[in-house]
Symmetry: C2
Subunit: 81 residues, 2 copies
């Protein structure tokens, strides 16, 4: 089973890295871009006797405790069988 | 319109950062994790007269030219209206 965790900055948090990417992209001639925000993406391979619900629970706990900073970041978990 | 770009290391490329996260996660008592790989995630807000196909084309070009290193990374683009 595979868990995919997407971590993004909360909308209220400034993203200077995203702003820098947007600037570079505009210099390279891409147009119509109003905003770019960068986040993190984790693929977690889960083995063993867990069912989908248990795997989701484990992945959410991991995302909350380790992979994200809940003060400034949101996360989203998807389970793929 | 929003384009989501997922950038991951190619399977053949070593991911020491993912290995370090896996190690930490195991020390914290999570079990049944066989692998963790870290990637990048970008949310791109697209404005203007582009239709979905044009937006996808623009996002793919951006992902290939700026957001990823095609030698060691793969990317995937999703368009959300």
């Amino acid at each position: 089973m595979k868990a995919k965790v997407y971590v993004t900055l909360k909308p209220s948090v400034l993203d200077p890295q995203g702003k820098a990417i947007k600037h570079s992209v505009e210099l390279l001639g891409f147009s119509g871009i109003s905003d770019i925000r960068q986040g993190k993406y984790f693929e977690i391979a889960i083995e063993g006797p867990l069912n989908v619900d248990q795997a989701r629970e484990e992945a959410v706990r991991m995302a909350h405790d380790v992979l994200s900073n809940p003060i400034i970041e949101d996360f989203r978990v998807e389970i793929e069988e």
